[in-house]
Symmetry: C2
Subunit: 188 residues, 2 copies
DNA sequence: GCAGAACGGTACCGATCGGTTCCGAATAAC
DNA sequence: GTTATTCGGAACCGATCGGTACCGTTCTGC
């Protein structure tokens, strides 16, 4: 547990927001849980909106680092992202993707939250692109977007079905996308 | 515009909840928009929670009916669900799936909202199952679950990318799942 | 050792939250 | 035409929302 108030706020907020939703967690609760004084909070953040922004930025960085690590731990291939997803979906406190959830409870589709979510997903797509290109696939970009769609589908499905089943199903689909020729076999 | 207060409340709430989120819409706003008196609201619903429940039930029924219609209008095959999805994602006020969004902003993963969302998705999966079986596919159940995952992936992707692109991408994947043999070609 | 920053606690603000109660008008049933 | 129901409007409730200001203490840099 860090002694820095700002760090404690970010850490506590990331956890509470993810577990119960951003709107569901008031500043009051956050202060009570983190043990930070009200004044200290507003010394570090202009308001709740800025805290939300900082929390999402932080989560983006951490989550991306976690994914890269876990993918490496699972062999480093593009399919490993689904192993990582399955692993995290097995966790008791899995609640889907923080950015998808944030979009879902954001009122303004043109606000900062959607921008951050897009940024986050683009970064993940770029990682997928790299992983697939390393396998020598010519159409890596299109495949990366398909993989991203599969990951998000598995993530929201895992929210309600619990466990790694959805991720494994997505992995099976991805496997076939990697194996089979893109649309029509090139005529000889 | 229906004259019945209950119907007006359900209709207004469904729209507001979908556009801005359930937590973001207070009873106050809802009453102002629908022109219903405060007392009338609590005559028809025990509280906001019961209204949310009724709205989701209503949406489930309407959405399912809409999907069946639209699928028929697009030829009736299982792939038509992605055409329907693309069509709705083109709309200006498209905000993803109301049930995924409701789950995302629900605090309790074991509460009623998750139960309703599961019920909803199971019904859609059953419809997919039927459509795929009508095509004569032996493993229709597994395919239906894969299609459901693709639909949800396309839906959450369309929230941030706007337009029918994600749905068309999901359709392309689904097409290959239908065409190719499931895992390994049966050895002759 | 001392100055200044960072801290937690508390009182307070207006606004809004979900919810209750009473009232008078409109409407529908018989 | 009278009775019974449904309706919208408004006053009010305690709780909580996000946010501000001031307090005294603790910790740190020099």
């Amino acid at each position: 547990m860090p002694t820095d108030a700002r760090e404690r706020l970010l850490q506590g907020a990331e956890e509470l927001f993810y577990e119960e939703g951003i709107r569901a967690v008031g500043v009051e609760r956050l202060l009570a849980v983190t043990g930070v004084g009200r004044a200290s909070f507003y010394r570090h953040f202009a308001g709740k909106d800025e805290l939300v922004y900082a929390v999402l930025k932080r989560r983006d960085a951490h989550w991306h680092a976690w994914l890269e690590e876990t993918v490496t731990a699972h062999g480093g291939g593009p399919l490993a992202v689904f192993d990582a997803l399955a692993e995290s979906a097995e966790s008791e406190n899995f609640r889907g993707c923080a950015f998808i959830n944030a979009m879902a409870e954001a009122s303004d589709p043109h606000g900062e939250i959607f921008r951050l979510a897009n940024e986050h997903k683009n970064k993940v797509t770029a990682l997928l692109d790299r992983l697939i290109e390393e396998q020598g696939h010519p159409d890596h970009r299109a495949l990366a977007e398909q993989f991203m769609l599969l990951m998000d589908g598995a993530t929201v499905t895992a929210m309600r079905t619990r466990g790694g089943g959805a991720a494994r199903r997505a992995r099976a689909i991805a496997e076939r996308l990697l194996a089979a020729p893109p649309v029509e076999p090139v005529p000889v």
